[in-house]
Symmetry: C2
Subunit: 317 residues, 2 copies
Protein backbone atom coordinates (compact mmCIF):
# COMPACT_ATOMS: atom_id res chain seq x y z
CA UNK A 1 0.00 0.00 0.00
CA UNK A 2 1.27 3.47 -0.93
CA UNK A 3 1.72 5.57 2.20
CA UNK A 4 3.35 8.82 3.30
CA UNK A 5 4.18 10.36 6.66
CA UNK A 6 2.53 13.60 7.75
CA UNK A 7 4.08 15.64 10.57
CA UNK A 8 2.40 18.57 12.31
CA UNK A 9 4.65 20.85 14.35
CA UNK A 10 1.92 23.41 14.83
CA UNK A 11 1.12 23.44 18.51
CA UNK A 12 2.13 22.22 21.90
CA UNK A 13 2.31 18.65 20.57
CA UNK A 14 4.39 16.99 17.92
CA UNK A 15 1.84 15.03 15.89
CA UNK A 16 2.79 12.57 13.20
CA UNK A 17 0.91 9.90 11.28
CA UNK A 18 1.30 7.21 8.69
CA UNK A 19 -1.33 8.07 6.07
CA UNK A 20 -2.51 6.13 3.02
CA UNK A 21 -2.63 7.72 -0.42
CA UNK A 22 -6.41 7.78 -0.02
CA UNK A 23 -6.15 9.84 3.18
CA UNK A 24 -6.71 7.16 5.79
CA UNK A 25 -4.76 7.64 9.04
CA UNK A 26 -3.15 4.26 9.67
CA UNK A 27 -1.11 5.06 12.75
CA UNK A 28 -0.80 8.25 14.77
CA UNK A 29 1.70 9.44 17.40
CA UNK A 30 1.34 12.51 19.63
CA UNK A 31 4.03 13.81 21.96
CA UNK A 32 4.33 17.12 23.84
CA UNK A 33 6.94 19.45 22.33
CA UNK A 34 8.60 20.61 25.53
CA UNK A 35 9.70 24.19 24.95
CA UNK A 36 13.28 25.42 25.31
CA UNK A 37 14.84 22.34 23.77
CA UNK A 38 17.98 22.66 21.69
CA UNK A 39 17.59 22.08 17.97
CA UNK A 40 19.45 18.81 18.37
CA UNK A 41 17.13 17.48 21.07
CA UNK A 42 13.91 18.49 19.34
CA UNK A 43 14.84 16.97 15.99
CA UNK A 44 15.93 13.79 17.76
CA UNK A 45 12.42 13.43 19.17
CA UNK A 46 10.91 14.02 15.73
CA UNK A 47 13.35 11.53 14.17
CA UNK A 48 12.41 8.82 16.69
CA UNK A 49 8.69 9.31 16.01
CA UNK A 50 9.19 9.13 12.23
CA UNK A 51 11.39 6.03 12.55
CA UNK A 52 8.71 4.29 14.60
CA UNK A 53 6.02 5.12 12.01
CA UNK A 54 8.24 3.84 9.19
CA UNK A 55 8.82 0.59 11.05
CA UNK A 56 5.10 0.06 11.49
CA UNK A 57 4.44 0.34 7.73
CA UNK A 58 4.13 -2.71 5.43
CA UNK A 59 6.24 -1.00 2.80
CA UNK A 60 8.53 1.99 3.21
CA UNK A 61 6.48 5.23 2.98
CA UNK A 62 7.21 7.28 -0.14
CA UNK A 63 7.66 10.77 1.31
CA UNK A 64 7.44 12.96 4.39
CA UNK A 65 5.33 16.09 4.66
CA UNK A 66 5.93 18.60 7.47
CA UNK A 67 3.85 21.54 8.64
CA UNK A 68 5.56 24.01 10.98
CA UNK A 69 4.06 26.97 12.81
CA UNK A 70 6.06 30.10 12.15
CA UNK A 71 7.98 31.70 9.33
CA UNK A 72 8.76 28.93 6.87
CA UNK A 73 10.11 28.81 3.33
CA UNK A 74 8.22 26.05 1.53
CA UNK A 75 10.60 26.23 -1.45
CA UNK A 76 13.72 25.71 0.60
CA UNK A 77 12.25 23.71 3.46
CA UNK A 78 13.77 26.10 5.95
CA UNK A 79 12.22 27.22 9.24
CA UNK A 80 13.30 30.81 9.83
CA UNK A 81 11.56 31.09 13.20
CA UNK A 82 8.94 29.06 15.05
CA UNK A 83 7.14 29.90 18.32
CA UNK A 84 7.23 26.27 19.49
CA UNK A 85 10.86 25.65 18.53
CA UNK A 86 12.57 28.88 19.58
CA UNK A 87 16.00 27.32 18.99
CA UNK A 88 15.26 26.79 15.28
CA UNK A 89 16.76 29.74 13.43
CA UNK A 90 17.12 29.22 9.65
CA UNK A 91 16.99 25.50 10.31
CA UNK A 92 16.51 23.22 7.30
CA UNK A 93 14.20 20.52 8.63
CA UNK A 94 13.97 19.31 5.03
CA UNK A 95 17.70 18.57 4.70
CA UNK A 96 17.78 17.02 8.15
CA UNK A 97 14.93 14.55 7.55
CA UNK A 98 16.02 13.78 3.97
CA UNK A 99 19.47 12.82 5.19
CA UNK A 100 18.27 10.47 7.91
CA UNK A 101 15.45 8.74 6.07
CA UNK A 102 16.49 9.04 2.40
CA UNK A 103 12.98 10.16 1.51
CA UNK A 104 11.72 13.28 -0.29
CA UNK A 105 10.58 15.86 2.28
CA UNK A 106 8.03 18.65 1.68
CA UNK A 107 7.80 21.45 4.22
CA UNK A 108 5.22 24.22 4.60
CA UNK A 109 3.55 26.41 7.16
CA UNK A 110 1.15 24.46 9.42
CA UNK A 111 -1.83 26.65 8.56
CA UNK A 112 -1.26 26.02 4.85
CA UNK A 113 -1.21 22.28 5.44
CA UNK A 114 -4.36 22.44 7.58
CA UNK A 115 -6.08 24.23 4.69
CA UNK A 116 -4.93 21.50 2.28
CA UNK A 117 -6.47 18.92 4.59
CA UNK A 118 -9.82 20.72 4.66
CA UNK A 119 -9.71 20.87 0.87
CA UNK A 120 -8.78 17.19 0.57
CA UNK A 121 -11.00 15.55 3.17
CA UNK A 122 -12.83 18.29 5.01
CA UNK A 123 -15.25 21.14 4.59
CA UNK A 124 -13.69 22.93 1.59
CA UNK A 125 -13.81 20.08 -0.93
CA UNK A 126 -15.68 22.00 -3.61
CA UNK A 127 -14.07 25.39 -3.06
CA UNK A 128 -11.44 26.53 -5.60
CA UNK A 129 -10.80 29.72 -3.61
CA UNK A 130 -10.95 29.98 0.15
CA UNK A 131 -9.25 31.39 3.21
CA UNK A 132 -8.56 29.36 6.30
CA UNK A 133 -8.12 30.97 9.70
CA UNK A 134 -7.03 28.97 12.72
CA UNK A 135 -8.13 30.72 15.88
CA UNK A 136 -5.85 29.59 18.67
CA UNK A 137 -3.29 31.36 20.82
CA UNK A 138 -2.73 33.51 17.75
CA UNK A 139 -4.38 33.54 14.33
CA UNK A 140 -2.89 31.41 11.58
CA UNK A 141 -4.00 31.81 8.01
CA UNK A 142 -3.88 30.34 4.55
CA UNK A 143 -5.04 31.66 1.20
CA UNK A 144 -6.08 29.23 -1.52
CA UNK A 145 -6.58 30.52 -5.07
CA UNK A 146 -7.46 28.18 -7.94
CA UNK A 147 -7.11 25.22 -5.57
CA UNK A 148 -3.46 26.06 -4.81
CA UNK A 149 -1.90 27.52 -1.67
CA UNK A 150 -0.65 31.06 -2.30
CA UNK A 151 2.91 31.35 -1.01
CA UNK A 152 3.76 34.86 -2.20
CA UNK A 153 7.34 35.91 -2.72
CA UNK A 154 9.02 34.04 0.10
CA UNK A 155 6.32 31.77 1.41
CA UNK A 156 5.05 34.19 4.04
CA UNK A 157 1.45 34.49 2.80
CA UNK A 158 -1.32 34.21 5.35
CA UNK A 159 0.01 36.10 8.34
CA UNK A 160 -3.58 37.22 8.85
CA UNK A 161 -3.01 37.61 12.58
CA UNK A 162 -0.63 40.48 11.93
CA UNK A 163 -2.94 42.59 9.87
CA UNK A 164 -3.38 45.84 11.82
CA UNK A 165 -6.98 46.52 12.83
CA UNK A 166 -6.29 49.28 15.36
CA UNK A 167 -3.30 51.43 14.39
CA UNK A 168 -2.84 52.84 17.89
CA UNK A 169 -3.61 49.55 19.65
CA UNK A 170 -1.42 47.66 22.12
CA UNK A 171 2.06 46.52 21.03
CA UNK A 172 2.37 43.05 19.45
CA UNK A 173 5.41 40.77 19.79
CA UNK A 174 5.78 40.99 15.97
CA UNK A 175 6.88 44.62 16.31
CA UNK A 176 3.61 46.20 15.20
CA UNK A 177 0.64 47.47 17.21
CA UNK A 178 -3.05 46.63 17.20
CA UNK A 179 -2.68 43.38 15.25
CA UNK A 180 -5.80 41.31 14.53
CA UNK A 181 -4.64 38.44 16.75
CA UNK A 182 -4.39 40.72 19.78
CA UNK A 183 -8.19 40.97 19.60
CA UNK A 184 -9.62 37.85 18.03
CA UNK A 185 -7.59 34.98 19.48
CA UNK A 186 -7.26 33.13 22.78
CA UNK A 187 -4.49 35.46 23.90
CA UNK A 188 -6.73 38.41 23.00
CA UNK A 189 -9.53 37.01 25.14
CA UNK A 190 -7.10 36.45 27.99
CA UNK A 191 -5.80 40.01 27.74
CA UNK A 192 -9.33 41.41 27.95
CA UNK A 193 -10.19 39.06 30.81
CA UNK A 194 -7.41 40.61 32.89
CA UNK A 195 -9.29 43.89 32.86
CA UNK A 196 -12.47 42.45 34.44
CA UNK A 197 -12.12 42.13 38.25
CA UNK A 198 -15.21 39.87 38.49
CA UNK A 199 -13.40 37.22 36.45
CA UNK A 200 -10.41 37.07 38.80
CA UNK A 201 -11.31 33.52 39.80
CA UNK A 202 -10.55 32.29 36.28
CA UNK A 203 -7.08 33.75 36.30
CA UNK A 204 -6.17 31.48 39.20
CA UNK A 205 -6.72 28.38 37.05
CA UNK A 206 -4.02 26.79 34.90
CA UNK A 207 -3.64 28.75 31.62
CA UNK A 208 -4.86 25.79 29.53
CA UNK A 209 -8.08 25.61 31.57
CA UNK A 210 -8.90 29.33 31.60
CA UNK A 211 -10.70 29.61 28.28
CA UNK A 212 -12.80 26.55 28.96
CA UNK A 213 -13.82 28.05 32.31
CA UNK A 214 -14.57 31.39 30.66
CA UNK A 215 -16.78 29.68 28.06
CA UNK A 216 -18.61 27.67 30.75
CA UNK A 217 -19.18 30.87 32.73
CA UNK A 218 -20.61 32.59 29.63
CA UNK A 219 -22.90 29.62 28.93
CA UNK A 220 -24.38 29.71 32.44
CA UNK A 221 -28.14 30.10 32.51
CA UNK A 222 -28.14 32.69 35.29
CA UNK A 223 -27.87 36.43 34.83
CA UNK A 224 -24.98 37.00 37.23
CA UNK A 225 -22.54 39.85 36.52
CA UNK A 226 -19.83 37.20 36.00
CA UNK A 227 -21.84 35.51 33.28
CA UNK A 228 -22.62 38.80 31.55
CA UNK A 229 -18.97 39.86 31.73
CA UNK A 230 -17.81 36.56 30.21
CA UNK A 231 -20.47 36.76 27.52
CA UNK A 232 -19.41 40.29 26.68
CA UNK A 233 -15.78 39.22 26.30
CA UNK A 234 -16.70 36.62 23.70
CA UNK A 235 -19.02 38.99 21.85
CA UNK A 236 -16.30 41.62 21.84
CA UNK A 237 -13.90 39.06 20.40
CA UNK A 238 -16.51 38.25 17.74
CA UNK A 239 -16.86 41.94 16.93
CA UNK A 240 -13.14 42.16 16.14
CA UNK A 241 -13.19 38.84 14.30
CA UNK A 242 -15.89 40.31 12.06
CA UNK A 243 -13.80 43.40 11.37
CA UNK A 244 -10.78 41.31 10.42
CA UNK A 245 -12.81 38.96 8.21
CA UNK A 246 -14.36 41.93 6.39
CA UNK A 247 -10.90 43.34 5.69
CA UNK A 248 -9.59 39.98 4.47
CA UNK A 249 -12.53 39.58 2.09
CA UNK A 250 -12.01 43.11 0.74
CA UNK A 251 -8.29 42.52 0.18
CA UNK A 252 -8.40 39.04 -1.32
CA UNK A 253 -11.86 38.99 -2.94
CA UNK A 254 -12.22 35.47 -1.52
CA UNK A 255 -15.63 35.03 0.07
CA UNK A 256 -15.37 31.49 1.35
CA UNK A 257 -13.90 31.10 4.78
CA UNK A 258 -13.02 28.07 6.90
CA UNK A 259 -12.58 28.74 10.61
CA UNK A 260 -10.61 26.26 12.68
CA UNK A 261 -8.45 26.17 15.78
CA UNK A 262 -9.14 25.47 19.43
CA UNK A 263 -11.19 28.59 19.98
CA UNK A 264 -13.89 27.29 17.64
CA UNK A 265 -15.03 25.06 20.51
CA UNK A 266 -16.63 28.27 21.82
CA UNK A 267 -17.95 29.47 18.46
CA UNK A 268 -21.51 29.52 19.83
CA UNK A 269 -20.38 32.46 21.95
CA UNK A 270 -18.80 34.69 19.30
CA UNK A 271 -19.61 33.60 15.75
CA UNK A 272 -22.95 35.37 15.36
CA UNK A 273 -21.42 38.63 16.64
CA UNK A 274 -18.61 38.17 14.10
CA UNK A 275 -20.99 37.62 11.19
CA UNK A 276 -23.10 40.61 12.20
CA UNK A 277 -20.12 42.96 12.34
CA UNK A 278 -18.63 41.56 9.13
CA UNK A 279 -21.84 42.25 7.22
CA UNK A 280 -21.99 45.77 8.56
CA UNK A 281 -18.40 46.38 7.39
CA UNK A 282 -18.67 45.17 3.82
CA UNK A 283 -20.32 46.21 0.54
CA UNK A 284 -23.74 44.62 0.23
CA UNK A 285 -22.81 43.08 -3.13
CA UNK A 286 -19.73 41.43 -1.61
CA UNK A 287 -21.51 40.34 1.57
CA UNK A 288 -24.11 38.39 -0.45
CA UNK A 289 -21.60 35.77 -1.54
CA UNK A 290 -19.90 35.16 1.80
CA UNK A 291 -19.93 31.65 3.23
CA UNK A 292 -18.30 30.72 6.54
CA UNK A 293 -17.82 27.08 7.52
CA UNK A 294 -16.29 25.42 10.54
CA UNK A 295 -13.22 23.23 9.93
CA UNK A 296 -14.13 19.53 10.07
CA UNK A 297 -10.91 17.70 10.74
CA UNK A 298 -9.97 19.02 14.18
CA UNK A 299 -6.57 17.98 15.45
CA UNK A 300 -6.06 15.57 12.52
CA UNK A 301 -5.99 18.44 10.01
CA UNK A 302 -2.26 19.03 10.48
CA UNK A 303 -1.02 15.50 9.82
CA UNK A 304 -3.54 14.91 7.01
CA UNK A 305 -2.57 18.16 5.31
CA UNK A 306 1.13 17.39 5.62
CA UNK A 307 0.44 13.95 4.12
CA UNK A 308 -1.41 15.60 1.24
CA UNK A 309 1.47 18.04 0.70
CA UNK A 310 3.82 15.04 0.49
CA UNK A 311 1.61 13.21 -2.03
CA UNK A 312 1.17 16.39 -4.06
CA UNK A 313 4.89 17.09 -3.94
CA UNK A 314 5.67 13.59 -5.25
CA UNK A 315 3.27 14.12 -8.16
CA UNK A 316 4.97 17.35 -9.18
CA UNK A 317 8.56 16.18 -8.75
CA UNK B 1 -1.54 46.10 -38.35
CA UNK B 2 -3.22 44.24 -35.48
CA UNK B 3 -4.80 46.71 -33.07
CA UNK B 4 -7.23 46.79 -30.14
CA UNK B 5 -9.09 49.52 -28.31
CA UNK B 6 -8.39 50.23 -24.65
CA UNK B 7 -10.91 52.19 -22.60
CA UNK B 8 -10.28 53.57 -19.11
CA UNK B 9 -13.32 54.62 -17.11
CA UNK B 10 -11.32 55.09 -13.98
CA UNK B 11 -11.42 58.75 -13.13
CA UNK B 12 -12.95 62.08 -14.00
CA UNK B 13 -12.11 61.50 -17.69
CA UNK B 14 -13.18 58.90 -20.20
CA UNK B 15 -9.91 57.86 -21.81
CA UNK B 16 -9.71 55.61 -24.81
CA UNK B 17 -6.95 54.68 -27.23
CA UNK B 18 -6.21 52.68 -30.33
CA UNK B 19 -3.26 50.49 -29.32
CA UNK B 20 -1.06 48.19 -31.40
CA UNK B 21 -0.45 44.58 -30.39
CA UNK B 22 3.05 45.69 -29.39
CA UNK B 23 1.65 48.27 -26.96
CA UNK B 24 2.11 51.43 -28.98
CA UNK B 25 -0.59 54.07 -28.44
CA UNK B 26 -1.61 55.09 -31.98
CA UNK B 27 -4.43 57.49 -31.18
CA UNK B 28 -5.80 58.70 -27.88
CA UNK B 29 -9.02 60.50 -26.88
CA UNK B 30 -9.79 62.07 -23.50
CA UNK B 31 -13.14 63.52 -22.51
CA UNK B 32 -14.52 64.57 -19.10
CA UNK B 33 -17.10 62.14 -17.72
CA UNK B 34 -19.65 64.65 -16.50
CA UNK B 35 -21.25 63.15 -13.40
CA UNK B 36 -25.00 62.57 -13.01
CA UNK B 37 -25.53 61.41 -16.57
CA UNK B 38 -28.10 58.78 -17.34
CA UNK B 39 -26.74 55.39 -18.39
CA UNK B 40 -27.98 56.11 -21.90
CA UNK B 41 -26.13 59.41 -22.18
CA UNK B 42 -22.86 58.16 -20.75
CA UNK B 43 -22.68 55.08 -22.96
CA UNK B 44 -23.52 57.23 -25.98
CA UNK B 45 -20.43 59.34 -25.27
CA UNK B 46 -18.31 56.19 -24.91
CA UNK B 47 -19.78 54.76 -28.11
CA UNK B 48 -18.96 57.91 -30.07
CA UNK B 49 -15.35 57.86 -28.85
CA UNK B 50 -14.91 54.19 -29.76
CA UNK B 51 -16.48 54.72 -33.19
CA UNK B 52 -14.08 57.55 -33.91
CA UNK B 53 -11.06 55.40 -32.90
CA UNK B 54 -12.28 52.53 -35.09
CA UNK B 55 -12.63 54.91 -38.05
CA UNK B 56 -9.09 56.15 -37.63
CA UNK B 57 -7.64 52.60 -37.80
CA UNK B 58 -6.24 51.09 -41.04
CA UNK B 59 -7.97 47.81 -40.31
CA UNK B 60 -10.83 47.16 -37.91
CA UNK B 61 -9.45 46.63 -34.38
CA UNK B 62 -9.82 43.08 -33.07
CA UNK B 63 -11.26 43.64 -29.61
CA UNK B 64 -12.17 46.20 -26.96
CA UNK B 65 -10.83 46.20 -23.40
CA UNK B 66 -12.54 48.25 -20.70
CA UNK B 67 -11.39 49.15 -17.18
CA UNK B 68 -14.04 50.56 -14.84
CA UNK B 69 -13.61 51.99 -11.35
CA UNK B 70 -15.97 50.32 -8.93
CA UNK B 71 -17.46 46.91 -8.29
CA UNK B 72 -17.10 44.98 -11.53
CA UNK B 73 -17.54 41.36 -12.53
CA UNK B 74 -14.80 40.56 -15.02
CA UNK B 75 -16.40 37.22 -15.89
CA UNK B 76 -19.76 38.70 -16.78
CA UNK B 77 -18.62 42.14 -17.92
CA UNK B 78 -21.12 43.74 -15.56
CA UNK B 79 -20.60 46.95 -13.58
CA UNK B 80 -22.47 46.57 -10.31
CA UNK B 81 -21.64 50.08 -9.10
CA UNK B 82 -19.17 52.78 -10.13
CA UNK B 83 -18.38 56.09 -8.38
CA UNK B 84 -18.03 57.93 -11.69
CA UNK B 85 -21.15 56.47 -13.29
CA UNK B 86 -23.66 56.48 -10.43
CA UNK B 87 -26.49 55.58 -12.81
CA UNK B 88 -24.83 52.26 -13.75
CA UNK B 89 -26.40 49.60 -11.57
CA UNK B 90 -25.78 46.02 -12.75
CA UNK B 91 -25.08 47.44 -16.18
CA UNK B 92 -23.49 45.13 -18.75
CA UNK B 93 -21.06 47.40 -20.58
CA UNK B 94 -19.80 44.23 -22.27
CA UNK B 95 -23.12 43.37 -23.91
CA UNK B 96 -23.69 47.00 -24.86
CA UNK B 97 -20.37 47.47 -26.68
CA UNK B 98 -20.43 43.99 -28.22
CA UNK B 99 -23.80 44.70 -29.76
CA UNK B 100 -22.84 48.04 -31.30
CA UNK B 101 -19.40 47.16 -32.60
CA UNK B 102 -19.59 43.38 -33.14
CA UNK B 103 -16.26 42.96 -31.39
CA UNK B 104 -15.25 40.83 -28.41
CA UNK B 105 -15.24 42.97 -25.25
CA UNK B 106 -13.22 42.29 -22.07
CA UNK B 107 -14.13 44.19 -18.92
CA UNK B 108 -12.29 44.45 -15.60
CA UNK B 109 -11.71 46.78 -12.67
CA UNK B 110 -9.58 49.81 -13.64
CA UNK B 111 -6.95 49.09 -10.97
CA UNK B 112 -6.53 45.55 -12.31
CA UNK B 113 -5.97 46.90 -15.82
CA UNK B 114 -3.50 49.52 -14.57
CA UNK B 115 -1.54 46.70 -12.92
CA UNK B 116 -1.55 44.73 -16.19
CA UNK B 117 -0.11 47.79 -17.95
CA UNK B 118 2.72 48.11 -15.41
CA UNK B 119 3.46 44.43 -15.92
CA UNK B 120 3.37 44.71 -19.71
CA UNK B 121 5.19 47.97 -20.34
CA UNK B 122 5.98 49.52 -16.98
CA UNK B 123 7.84 49.00 -13.76
CA UNK B 124 6.68 45.45 -12.89
CA UNK B 125 7.95 43.65 -16.03
CA UNK B 126 9.98 41.04 -14.18
CA UNK B 127 7.66 40.55 -11.22
CA UNK B 128 5.53 37.37 -11.15
CA UNK B 129 3.86 38.47 -7.90
CA UNK B 130 3.07 42.07 -7.00
CA UNK B 131 0.47 44.38 -5.54
CA UNK B 132 -0.52 47.64 -7.15
CA UNK B 133 -2.03 50.48 -5.16
CA UNK B 134 -3.40 53.58 -6.84
CA UNK B 135 -3.41 56.46 -4.38
CA UNK B 136 -6.02 58.95 -5.56
CA UNK B 137 -9.30 60.14 -4.09
CA UNK B 138 -9.53 56.62 -2.67
CA UNK B 139 -7.17 53.65 -2.80
CA UNK B 140 -7.53 51.18 -5.64
CA UNK B 141 -5.74 47.89 -5.58
CA UNK B 142 -4.76 44.86 -7.60
CA UNK B 143 -3.15 41.58 -6.60
CA UNK B 144 -1.05 39.68 -9.14
CA UNK B 145 0.00 36.11 -8.37
CA UNK B 146 1.94 34.01 -10.87
CA UNK B 147 1.63 36.83 -13.40
CA UNK B 148 -2.18 36.70 -13.32
CA UNK B 149 -4.68 39.10 -11.76
CA UNK B 150 -6.40 37.52 -8.76
CA UNK B 151 -10.16 38.01 -9.11
CA UNK B 152 -11.35 35.98 -6.14
CA UNK B 153 -14.85 34.57 -6.03
CA UNK B 154 -16.76 37.34 -7.77
CA UNK B 155 -14.04 39.61 -9.10
CA UNK B 156 -13.90 41.87 -6.06
CA UNK B 157 -10.25 41.29 -5.13
CA UNK B 158 -8.14 44.33 -4.35
CA UNK B 159 -10.47 46.54 -2.35
CA UNK B 160 -7.37 47.48 -0.36
CA UNK B 161 -8.85 50.87 0.49
CA UNK B 162 -11.53 49.20 2.57
CA UNK B 163 -9.24 47.22 4.80
CA UNK B 164 -9.90 48.49 8.34
CA UNK B 165 -6.82 50.01 10.01
CA UNK B 166 -8.61 51.73 12.91
CA UNK B 167 -11.63 49.76 14.12
CA UNK B 168 -13.14 52.75 15.92
CA UNK B 169 -12.18 55.26 13.23
CA UNK B 170 -14.49 57.61 11.32
CA UNK B 171 -17.35 56.14 9.23
CA UNK B 172 -16.63 55.28 5.59
CA UNK B 173 -19.16 55.51 2.74
CA UNK B 174 -18.66 51.75 2.24
CA UNK B 175 -20.49 51.10 5.53
CA UNK B 176 -17.41 50.32 7.62
CA UNK B 177 -15.30 52.54 9.88
CA UNK B 178 -11.61 53.41 9.91
CA UNK B 179 -10.90 52.17 6.38
CA UNK B 180 -7.35 52.50 5.00
CA UNK B 181 -8.42 55.01 2.34
CA UNK B 182 -9.80 57.40 4.96
CA UNK B 183 -6.19 57.90 6.06
CA UNK B 184 -3.84 57.32 3.14
CA UNK B 185 -5.57 58.92 0.15
CA UNK B 186 -6.31 62.41 -1.16
CA UNK B 187 -9.65 62.46 0.61
CA UNK B 188 -7.88 61.42 3.81
CA UNK B 189 -5.43 64.29 3.46
CA UNK B 190 -8.30 66.69 2.83
CA UNK B 191 -10.16 65.45 5.91
CA UNK B 192 -7.12 66.03 8.09
CA UNK B 193 -6.50 69.43 6.51
CA UNK B 194 -9.95 70.58 7.66
CA UNK B 195 -8.78 70.23 11.25
CA UNK B 196 -5.83 72.66 10.86
CA UNK B 197 -6.99 76.29 11.08
CA UNK B 198 -3.67 77.60 9.66
CA UNK B 199 -4.42 75.86 6.37
CA UNK B 200 -7.79 77.57 5.92
CA UNK B 201 -6.49 79.43 2.87
CA UNK B 202 -6.15 76.14 0.96
CA UNK B 203 -9.75 75.21 1.54
CA UNK B 204 -10.83 78.29 -0.37
CA UNK B 205 -9.21 76.95 -3.55
CA UNK B 206 -11.00 74.71 -6.04
CA UNK B 207 -10.98 71.09 -4.80
CA UNK B 208 -8.76 69.95 -7.68
CA UNK B 209 -6.12 72.55 -6.78
CA UNK B 210 -6.07 71.96 -3.03
CA UNK B 211 -3.63 69.07 -2.86
CA UNK B 212 -1.19 70.76 -5.20
CA UNK B 213 -1.29 73.86 -2.99
CA UNK B 214 -0.84 71.73 0.12
CA UNK B 215 2.20 70.02 -1.41
CA UNK B 216 3.72 73.36 -2.47
CA UNK B 217 3.19 74.70 1.05
CA UNK B 218 4.92 71.65 2.52
CA UNK B 219 7.84 72.03 0.10
CA UNK B 220 8.43 75.67 1.08
CA UNK B 221 11.92 76.36 2.34
CA UNK B 222 10.76 78.50 5.26
CA UNK B 223 9.88 77.24 8.71
CA UNK B 224 6.48 78.87 8.98
CA UNK B 225 3.77 77.13 11.03
CA UNK B 226 1.83 76.65 7.78
CA UNK B 227 4.68 74.77 6.18
CA UNK B 228 5.21 72.58 9.25
CA UNK B 229 1.49 71.83 9.45
CA UNK B 230 1.37 70.84 5.78
CA UNK B 231 4.49 68.72 6.14
CA UNK B 232 3.01 66.99 9.17
CA UNK B 233 -0.17 66.14 7.23
CA UNK B 234 1.82 64.37 4.52
CA UNK B 235 3.99 62.55 7.04
CA UNK B 236 0.91 61.47 8.93
CA UNK B 237 -0.55 60.16 5.69
CA UNK B 238 2.72 58.28 5.09
CA UNK B 239 2.52 56.79 8.56
CA UNK B 240 -0.87 55.26 7.80
CA UNK B 241 0.22 54.20 4.32
CA UNK B 242 3.05 52.28 5.98
CA UNK B 243 0.62 50.55 8.35
CA UNK B 244 -1.64 49.52 5.48
CA UNK B 245 1.25 48.27 3.35
CA UNK B 246 2.58 46.19 6.26
CA UNK B 247 -0.83 44.56 6.69
CA UNK B 248 -1.15 43.86 2.97
CA UNK B 249 2.28 42.21 2.88
CA UNK B 250 1.42 40.09 5.91
CA UNK B 251 -1.87 38.95 4.41
CA UNK B 252 -0.75 38.27 0.84
CA UNK B 253 2.91 37.39 1.33
CA UNK B 254 3.62 39.56 -1.73
CA UNK B 255 6.59 41.81 -1.09
CA UNK B 256 6.71 43.75 -4.35
CA UNK B 257 4.58 46.84 -4.49
CA UNK B 258 3.85 49.34 -7.26
CA UNK B 259 2.45 52.66 -6.11
CA UNK B 260 0.57 54.80 -8.62
CA UNK B 261 -2.21 57.37 -8.71
CA UNK B 262 -2.26 61.15 -8.61
CA UNK B 263 -1.03 61.42 -5.04
CA UNK B 264 2.35 59.96 -6.06
CA UNK B 265 3.19 63.41 -7.45
CA UNK B 266 3.79 64.29 -3.78
CA UNK B 267 5.59 61.07 -2.89
CA UNK B 268 8.68 63.06 -1.79
CA UNK B 269 6.53 64.26 1.12
CA UNK B 270 5.22 60.95 2.45
CA UNK B 271 7.02 57.92 1.01
CA UNK B 272 9.94 57.82 3.42
CA UNK B 273 7.56 58.07 6.40
CA UNK B 274 5.56 55.20 4.89
CA UNK B 275 8.62 52.99 4.45
CA UNK B 276 9.81 53.72 7.97
CA UNK B 277 6.50 52.79 9.57
CA UNK B 278 6.09 49.72 7.34
CA UNK B 279 9.47 48.36 8.45
CA UNK B 280 8.60 48.94 12.08
CA UNK B 281 5.34 47.01 11.63
CA UNK B 282 6.67 43.88 9.97
CA UNK B 283 8.80 40.83 10.80
CA UNK B 284 12.44 41.54 10.00
CA UNK B 285 12.64 38.46 7.75
CA UNK B 286 9.65 39.66 5.71
CA UNK B 287 10.82 43.28 5.60
CA UNK B 288 14.14 42.24 4.00
CA UNK B 289 12.52 41.27 0.72
CA UNK B 290 10.23 44.27 0.30
CA UNK B 291 10.60 46.39 -2.83
CA UNK B 292 8.46 49.43 -3.55
CA UNK B 293 8.47 51.05 -7.00
CA UNK B 294 6.62 53.99 -8.45
CA UNK B 295 4.25 53.29 -11.37
CA UNK B 296 5.80 54.37 -14.68
CA UNK B 297 2.92 54.77 -17.07
CA UNK B 298 0.98 57.61 -15.47
CA UNK B 299 -2.36 58.41 -17.06
CA UNK B 300 -1.71 56.00 -19.97
CA UNK B 301 -1.75 52.99 -17.65
CA UNK B 302 -5.52 52.60 -17.88
CA UNK B 303 -5.86 52.48 -21.67
CA UNK B 304 -2.70 50.37 -22.10
CA UNK B 305 -3.85 47.88 -19.48
CA UNK B 306 -7.31 47.65 -21.02
CA UNK B 307 -5.64 47.04 -24.41
CA UNK B 308 -3.53 44.29 -22.86
CA UNK B 309 -6.63 42.72 -21.28
CA UNK B 310 -8.24 42.69 -24.74
CA UNK B 311 -5.19 41.07 -26.38
CA UNK B 312 -4.92 38.55 -23.57
CA UNK B 313 -8.65 37.82 -23.74
CA UNK B 314 -8.39 37.14 -27.50
CA UNK B 315 -5.54 34.72 -26.89
CA UNK B 316 -7.54 32.74 -24.35
CA UNK B 317 -10.84 32.68 -26.25
Amino acid sequence: MKTVIGIDLGGTNIRAALVSAQGRVIKKINQPVGMHRSTRDSVKVIGTIVASLIQSADQKPQAIGVGVAGIVSADQGIVFASPHFPAWKNFSIKTYLQRIFSLPVFVDNDANNAALAEQWKGTAKSWPHFMMLTLGTGIGGALIINSRIVHGDHGFTGEFGHMVIQSDGPPCPCGSRGCFELYASASGLRRQMMKVPGLNFIRKLKPEDQLYALAMTARNSNKSPKRLAALRLFENMGYYLGIGLASLVNVTGVQRIVLGGGLMGASDLFLSAAKKEMKRRIYKKTAEGICIKQAQLGSDAGVLGSAFAALDGLKKS
